[in-house]
Amino acid sequence: MEEAPLIKMEGIVKIYPDGTKALKGVDLSVRKGEIHGLLGENGAGKTTLMKILSGMLRPTEGKIFVNGKEVRFKSPADALANGIGMVHQHFTLVDVFDGLHNIILGMEGHGLFSKIDVEKAMEKLQKLMDDLNFQVPLDVPVETLPVGVQQRIEILKTLYRDVDVLILDEPTAVLTPIEVKELFDVLKKLKAQDKTIIFISHKLKEVMEITDRVTVLRKGEVIGTVNTNETSPKELAKMMVGREVVLRIEKPPKEAENPVLQVQDLWVKGDRDQDAVKGLTFEVKAGEIFGIAGVEGNGQTELIEAISGLRKIEKGKVILNGKDITGRPPKELYDLGVAHIPEDRIHMGLVSEMSVAENSILGLHWRETFRGPIGMLRWNKAKEHATKIVKNFEVLVPSIEAPVKSLSGGNQQKLIVARETSKQPEFIIASQPTRGVDVASTEYIRNYLINLRNENKAVLLVSADLDEILQLSDRMAIIYEGKFVGIVKPEEVTEEEIGLMMGGIKHES
């Protein structure tokens, strides 16, 4: 006999104002007291579906039932009144407020003069924390706290509003492996208190570990709901992607050769003028992939921007093939054989309003091939080039005249990789090369990076995806607060050790 579901969503369709059909008739039912996984690739519609359930978005079509009664949410407040609250992927905390004021924000009663009783609020929060067996400081500005702690404040904020159903949108994306464990402990406690949790993720491992049941979404449709203990990662992956996936990467052993890039005692400042990179020294050799692992925001962005000529170097040296390139502008670096796959493809790697052809020569446009007399741009050559790289890299484009924003994320990324490789580089910087990219393109891009390495190029790979680093790197460094905690060979360490290092704990051996 089926338990009656606590939440039932029926035939949910969502068409965004720009015409994107994000959900195409989705059914979902969630039982009371379970941890229900919502699994799907980027763009599958997970966030959209949960924003509808939490009252932030209205469905174009479809019905929602809570405890068998149909509801219509006009705002998040309506959903909260029905006991449903969501912790968003991007936190909604006010940086300069302390935890307490973030939590009670918007709850000061409705009358003009009614004030919330701060002491009573503190009491309630303390009890919540005791029940869940953790402590977070509620009296310091949240911006000074680590991301994992901020996330707990977000969770407290939602629980404080007495929700029974807690929705967590990709909560582990920003956490270290240790923080993930701690989060899972909290989730288990909540489950023991008979709370219902909807856990969004695109990581199979996590879903297998924490959930009771999983619903898999693909391209706005439900592929199925399964009991976690009756399924396997392989089956889930297949449901998620729609075909058998073998994320197997062939990586033949290879001796690295002479160093191509040498970085010596590099210091770089971040946007808020803080020291972001603190005296890094390393080298990347011909024929190797040097990976940098770490939780995002530990200086990776600044390091890459400094090496690629986009950010000022305070101190230290960058040497390429024996030539000092410290502080040289990007154009000069490209001419010396550097290629850069930037982490932010939409705001840096591409001009989304411009066409595929126009984007295919970005950063190559001054080359002899594309320049005619008196600075004319040779469009016929540019188009030939675009056609060639699109074909070689199997980038799916409606036409090379179509604006790049009409491509899917995976194809945008492939276009960048294709363009950067067409520069015939000696040294490639690949920053988060497969973030937000579908599985098929991910496989393609990863294999491609290995190819470059096999061709004796030097590859510097920065990724927040630990699996990616472990799979691809010949050597890897773990970065924490602007310093390397260690440089290791992936096969010589366990994931636990790396997890500790990502949290800043030194690896001793």
Binding site: P329, P330, K331, G349, V351, E353, A357, L362, M376, K383
Partner: protein
């Protein structure tokens, strides 16, 4: 590159719809004020397009507006909000007057306009690139400075000894030949059209134009691509200076009967602001600007006929035109806002 038709159709349809709505709104106002809108519009269109003379007046009114619109349009394509065309026009006109009076030929006059334009537009360019001064602020202030400085020159330095109402005139040898006798339409119109076509060429068929457009869309992508956004900004200002400097030059060298600047500068005043509207309606595209320039020229040329034939007072004519212009500019303004918001 082949002109991308799909990219054109949508803005074109939007602009056409906006024109129809603008005209309808104007009609409503006219009707409520007790005038016959149909009669008024017939007078307007007939006056502007119904005869060779009307066409000539329309195109001559269009001439300077295309050039000032290019200044704004080029700026917008480069991510700038350059509203300094107005002041630049004055100096273009003054420089052309002075140089033609020294050398007496058209080329020197045009050169004068170009140099004055570059010099004056160089100021906000310099302030932006080296001092980080927002170009909206600097160009508005410079417009006022230009106004009083130009007025001083007009009144004190180059007054016409024979006619207290205007400055010295462009000598006969340096005037643009008239295309249609008895009208104000001179070959200066060709300068505008050539400038617009050249601007299109630069933007879409040169590496410089490519760099300008990349910077305009996305400064970070530009830097990443090895483009120096500062260089792009300077070029955008300088080319914009050239076109609005030329606007002033062709206005004094190609507009009968005076071929001079009037004492209050009334005959060269306002083109910079008109240019913003023209550019917005033309979606900041040089070729679109030619057509929207003609639309604006038509409204100007038809104003007299609307007054005389339909008995609509000048203020009313201006108001109706203002409503049409604002409505027609709305899609372009929305485009611009979308970009600003995204930044």
């Amino acid at each position: 590159m082949r002109v991308d038709i799909r990219g054109f159709i949508k803005p074109l349809i939007e602009s056409l719809i906006a024109i129809v709505i603008g005209i309808l709104l104007g009609a409503i106002i006219l009707a409520f004020s007790g005038y016959n809108p149909i009669k008024a519009y017939i007078a307007l269109f007939d006056g502007a397009l119904g005869s060779k003379y009307g066409w000539a007046m329309t195109l001559s009114a269009t001439t300077p507006m295309i050039l000032t619109a290019l200044t704004f349009g080029l700026g917008a394509r480069t991510g700038l909000f350059n509203i300094g065309a107005e002041g630049t026009v004055y100096f273009g006109a003054i420089a052309a007057l002075i140089l033609t009076n020294i050398w007496g030929n058209i080329l020197m006059g045009l050169l004068g306009g170009i140099i004055a334009g570059i010099a004056w537009m160089g100021i906000p360019a310099f302030l932006k690139v080296f001092r980080g001064v927002n170009e909206v602020v600097s160009t508005i202030m410079l417009n006022w400075m230009a106004y009083f400085l130009a007025l001083y020159i007009v009144l004190q330095k180059i007054p016409n000894p024979d006619d207290p109402n205007k400055t010295i005139a462009v000598p006969l040898s340096a005037r643009f030949p008239i295309i249609i006798r008895g009208t104000e339409l001179s070959w200066a119109f060709a300068i505008s059209v050539i400038a617009a076509v050249l601007a299109y060429y630069v933007l879409w068929h040169t590496t410089l134009g490519y760099e300008l457009r990349v910077s305009g869309y996305n400064e970070r992508a530009a830097r990443y691509a090895g483009i120096n956004p500062k260089k792009a900004i300077i070029w955008s200002f300088l080319i914009g200076g050239i076109t609005s400097g030329l606007a002033g030059a062709v206005e004094v060298m190609g507009r009968p009967p005076s071929y001079a600047i009037s004492q209050g500068m009334a005959n060269i005043y306002g083109y910079g602001f008109d240019g913003i509207g023209v550019s917005l309606v033309g979606r900041n595209h040089p070729l679109g600007i030619i057509f929207s320039g003609i639309f604006f020229g038509m409204l100007k040329a038809g104003a007299t006929a609307m007054q005389i034939e339909a008995g609509v007072p000048l203020e009313m004519v201006r108001m109706v035109q203002g409503i049409i212009v604002v409505t027609v500019a709305i899609p372009g303004i929305l485009d611009l806002l979308k970009r600003v918001v995204r930044k």
